[in-house]
């Protein structure tokens, strides 16, 4: 039986050759013999004896035999088969323990960011005239906490995230819910980790004090220096928000030292200088880390990033990632969290059947108490997975998981980046293509380019400063 290459992505780093195996997501470095075998099979299938004969002028026969066995064992090569093997379709066990619950404590916002998925032209939930209340009641929030603790299975720690609208518009409920969740968790021998996302406009001193004292993780939505921030992140009258949020964020960073505080930047077609945004937010404002995400929008929006736009973003990501690498070699912290997150997934060897935990270990709750896939779908009847009062709708959940498995995404079946991407964000897919089951084909090239860059960085670090990767062995990873 002739041998042939199996599915993998080859890359080079630090003068060595590596393979990223699909679907196992294992990363192996190849020596010269293994490289030669892979190169030979790249020219076409060969039997084991043909391979050994062909390469015996360069390597010893027993060495070649040994190498072929190792490559076979690691499934880098395999016996030639006709057609493609179907992707394995293992559905997760139900009930799957809940690790994170996201509460939309309000769907009101004091900003009018033009690109907002919640209020803008591409919104899913009717936030103005819909049936969801503007604010989550204390009762609904408590029911949510009960649901979270009840469904957390044997997990010792549950994560509760507050979201909006502008989360801090409902600070009273947030405050009482944290106290309630702490008490209830303690009674059950569990712990709760709290976090929230805010636009920073309402960070008053007493709120900052509360967040610091209660070790609440904070993510700030901010787009960069004044002229970039004020382009989209505006108040209802159109004035920019930079001058309001910057001093408040500085005060938060000065006072709140119990958790690393990150910025989350939304990239649009007009964003041209990612390094400048990064410098501003880390160096000048003082964020511990900065994560970038392209705006979610249907393709005809002016601010949506088109294909050349993605190329441009990728080029700049690569520059900044190069900087991350230099820092990592020198054992220094660099706050470009997009690299860090991807390195962690590569290190652990994540091979995903689903793009994210939505509908699985993570669920969102609308202001009215409907349970949904995630906070982005919370309040939409079409994506309802139960309610905090009645519990999780297991049938709807199982049905969702059965329909959205990677094995059914035909477009992904030939892509080497699928262990990490798995088709991409459900909400993005729903906005672009009208279905969560649809892979996000508009950013495939970008995902592959970015994954390749991160693999190279991972390979470089593994050769030049392997102890840097130890941090990803610890649970939590930060």
């Amino acid at each position: 039986m002739p041998l042939q290459l199996r599915e993998f992505h080859p890359f080079q780093a630090a003068g060595r050759r590596f393979v990223y195996l699909v679907p196992s997501a294992a990363v192996f470095a190849l020596d010269d013999t293994a490289s030669a075998v892979v190169d030979a099979l790249d020219r076409g299938p060969r039997t084991r004896s043909q391979l050994v004969d062909e390469l015996s002028n360069r390597f010893g026969r027993s060495e070649l035999e040994e190498t072929v066995s190792e490559l076979l064992g690691a499934r880098t090569i395999g016996e030639a088969v006709d057609g493609t093997e179907p992707l394995s379709r293992n559905l997760p066990p139900v009930p799957f323990p809940l690790t994170t619950l996201v509460l939309n404590v309000t769907n009101k916002c004091n900003l009018s960011c033009t690109y907002c998925y919640e209020y803008g032209e591409d919104r899913i939930v009717d936030t103005r005239d819909g049936k969801q209340p503007a604010f989550m009641s204390e009762e609904t929030a408590r029911q949510s906490v009960e649901l979270m603790l009840r469904e957390s299975g044997s997990n010792k720690v549950a994560h509760l995230t507050f979201f909006g609208g502008e989360t801090l518009l409902n600070f009273p409920v947030l405050k009482s819910t944290i106290a309630y969740a702490r008490r209830r968790a303690a009674e059950m021998g569990k712990e709760v980790d709290f976090s929230l996302t805010t636009n920073g406009t309402l960070l008053r001193p007493e709120i900052i004090e509360f967040l610091a004292e209660n070790r609440v993780g904070v993510t700030i939505s901010i787009d960069g220096p004044r002229e970039i921030q004020d382009q989209f992140r505006v108040f209802h009258d159109g004035t920019g928000s930079y001058d309001v949020v910057a001093p408040r964020i500085r005060e938060l960073l000065r006072r709140h030292r119990t958790r690393p505080i990150g910025a989350r930047v939304t990239l649009t077609s007009t964003t041209s200088d990612i390094r400048r945004i990064f410098r501003h937010l880390t160096g000048e404002i003082g964020f511990w880390e900065v994560g970038f995400a392209p705006v979610t929008a249907s393709p005809n929006r002016l601010y949506a990033i088109d294909e050349p736009g993605f190329d441009h973003v990728l080029a700049q990501f690569r520059e900044l990632a190069g900087e991350f690498l230099d820092y990592a070699i020198a054992d220094r912290h660099h706050g470009f969290s997009n690299v860090r997150d991807t390195l962690e997934e590569i290190h652990k060897g994540a091979s995903k059947a689903y793009p994210c935990g939505a509908g699985l270990g993570l669920l969102g709750v609308s202001t009215g108490g409907d349970v949904a896939l995630c906070h982005r779908f919370a309040g939409s009847d079409a994506h309802k997975l139960g309610s905090v009062g009645d519990g999780i709708d297991r049938r709807a959940q199982s049905d969702f998981l059965a329909r959205n498995h990677i094995a059914d995404k035909t477009d992904c079946s030939k892509c080497w980046a699928r262990p990490l991407c798995a088709g991409g964000c459900y909400h993005e897919a729903y906005t672009r293509y009208g279905a969560t089951t649809h892979p996000n084909l508009h950013y495939c090239e970008w995902i592959r380019g970015w994954t390749d860059t991160c693999l190279q960085i991972y390979g470089e670090i593994s050769e030049r400063n392997p102890k840097f990767l130890k941090q990803f062995d610890e649970p939590g990873g930060l």
Partner: protein, 119 residues
């Protein structure tokens, strides 16, 4: 591994899985052993082709007959049908085929009257 170096954690798991097993007793059949378990730390190993798997072919010997088997199927048919499932896979009396051996008064003589049963 000498020619591949595992780099990430998943690769280390693959490598560990491929390591030659040090203990020669590993993979031994424990189900039929007498006395206290000799491999207390390991889960039992089931031999391939046992009746936990659907593996036709165990019921005939190398010549295609049954006479050479240690327990010819026609002799221990009732044992397998009623009390025990070993060594041949035959329909069980308890749940699925209560009347299977109804026309078979003496197995040595009447075994041809026993028909096939499809699950």
């Amino acid at each position: 591994m000498k020619h591949l170096k595992s780099v990430n954690r998943k690769a280390a798991m693959v490598e560990q899985d491929l390591e030659p097993k040090g203990n020669p007793q590993e993979g031994d059949v424990v189900a039929l052993q007498q006395g206290p378990p000799q491999q207390p730390q390991q889960s039992p190993h089931f031999p391939l082709g046992c009746s936990l798997q659907f593996d036709p072919g165990w019921e005939v010997d190398s010549s295609g007959g049954t006479a050479g088997l240690c327990q010819p199927v026609e002799r221990d048919l009732f044992d397998c049908h009623t009390g025990c499932y070993w060594p041949a896979q035959v329909p069980d009396q308890l749940n699925h085929a209560p009347d299977w051996t109804g026309k078979c008064a003496a197995a040595q003589k009447d075994w041809r009257k026993i028909d096939l049963i499809f699950p």
